[in-house]
Symmetry: C2
Subunit: 348 residues, 2 copies
Amino acid sequence: MTGRPRIKDIALKLGLSAATVSRALADNDLVAEATRSRVRDAAQALNYRPDVRARNLRTRKSMAALLVVRDVGNPFYLDILKGVEATAREAGYSILMGNTENDPDREAEYFDMLRDGHADGMILMTGKLPSRGAQAETLPAALPVVVALELIEDCPFPHVQIDNAAAARTAVRHLIGLGHRRVAHISGPEPEMMSVLRHRGYREAMVEAELEIPAGYEQRGDYQLESGQRACRALFELPEPPSAIFVANDEMAFGAIHELRRLGLDVPADVSIVGFDDLYLSKAFFPPLTTVCQPRQEIGRAAMGILLRMLGGGGRPTAPMVIPTSLRIRGSTAPYRPQLRSSRGHHP
Amino acid sequence: MTGRPRIKDIALKLGLSAATVSRALADNDLVAEATRSRVRDAAQALNYRPDVRARNLRTRKSMAALLVVRDVGNPFYLDILKGVEATAREAGYSILMGNTENDPDREAEYFDMLRDGHADGMILMTGKLPSRGAQAETLPAALPVVVALELIEDCPFPHVQIDNAAAARTAVRHLIGLGHRRVAHISGPEPEMMSVLRHRGYREAMVEAELEIPAGYEQRGDYQLESGQRACRALFELPEPPSAIFVANDEMAFGAIHELRRLGLDVPADVSIVGFDDLYLSKAFFPPLTTVCQPRQEIGRAAMGILLRMLGGGGRPTAPMVIPTSLRIRGSTAPYRPQLRSSRGHHP
DNA sequence: CTGAAAGCGCTAACAT
DNA sequence: ATGTTAGCGCTTTCAG
């Protein structure tokens, strides 16, 4: 009884061969039920657990999936992770975290980890494929990769996404429906699909309502708090500032609301704000943020589900999977009132 | 050229033995520099990458660390994950996510994964050891486990922690220093060490200032938003409500502020609030939350650092490692003003 | 139904 | 400085 038990310890103890024990532990029908139960008992008694490394080598699997994001520190990914983790564990898979921080080397590295056998499959949420590295040209479309959240154009892998443009339209229509005509937009960084689509949705809704977009009404941020603040300041330095802003994510929306408060403007009395994401704390914000809810946990579940099917040899879906979003109307939007702006600013 | 190259493909191509190639790839000094570079080139040319499964089996390692939390969906763990991930990757380790949801079976399962060889070490942030399962009594103290964040009493593993009681004292002293005498506390669930210690700190600061704690001034929550709201409501149903509250985490503090707003009370004019954690969005809240900042990323770094040292055979630290906290004074606290409470409630 | 034998791809001990 | 040999612990043919 030295060290942990091996499969052959059980075999020896029971007078069986290692092969039979292995089969028995796998609950293989070829093994007599009586033998199976003897093996189970012995395994229990010896406190046996198979060595996954040996099994992995033999079966050419790792029973792990890589979840690759731009920034593990971003609260946005949390619910996705939750969904992915839950679905993975139900199927006996573990989750390996990948973090690129937009570094192309790392992006390539995670593809390498797939080849290495570190993981059996990968969920990519970085919005890009590796542009450099050995495999840049050779990315086999058959790789078990699912792209989620941030779409990638001209990409051979299955996608799980939301309809960003449609969601943005809905958000802007909500503002227009409240009587707002001077509606501005704070977008994300624009080469990225996600930002482009949300921006496009904004424009479409404005065109549809025959509203013009004055110069300076389209500000660009980087999805971070401070950029929302900056963009908002720029909007209110315009000769004719907006009465409503559609902000491309909640975090920048918080920044914008902050700035408005600094300017002595009230949300929603003076300015209405719609965000995008419905972060965990958005409903707890003051005012509670009206925002587009994307069901992140479901996105995670769906992505992992597709990956599992691919790994099980079930084939890949042909069309992208689109998860529906919904607009959560809360306290940061209100009907347009053409009144003079209040000027009871906290910080004059 | 069928399938991915193996080590022996390189050996064959170069007329070397597999062993030499292996050594060369490991940059072993025993191999002639010339040979090493030939091997490197060949590996590059063939786009060779070692199969980690085979290596793992042979070396009895997995180069992965398990990070086990109560709830992967909790934003609180984000920065920890970030710190852990960064430190791990610097050392060539990957991070496997573990999620217990307070399920004792799962808690035990992750210890099993350690034995299985799924991971080489584990960072435990669940505040408990498995109480059941095969290994409950047999937990070898030598296991490469680091306990972080949520301490565990009578636990043989190294700890990385903050001084919760001291931090709580500092927070409450801040309130008392502002002239508050009716200071209440909303705690976390109390069998848990973290909650107990923060609660203790509150009491110590009160005693130290010779302030009494009226009946009902110690409310218990569960670290979730709604419980903060409920607890706050209870406080303001007391005959003599507090003028300041020390809340055991930011999330409940948000809930409390929400409730105060509902009651028509202003923070900080009527009631001062101090939280604990300094979440990502706490500074963006309105009012910006005064709170205890625990440097979560550093905690993550430190924990992973200790684990790496243990895995490297460097031995375990004897004393718990204590990471300093700091009080971030922001807009949710203000000097006590014995005025009548404003009654411009939004919801009468 | 069970056993014997082979081997996954790598590294490490032991040669030379 | 390199090669030979021997496994790591498991699963899976192939035989019986």
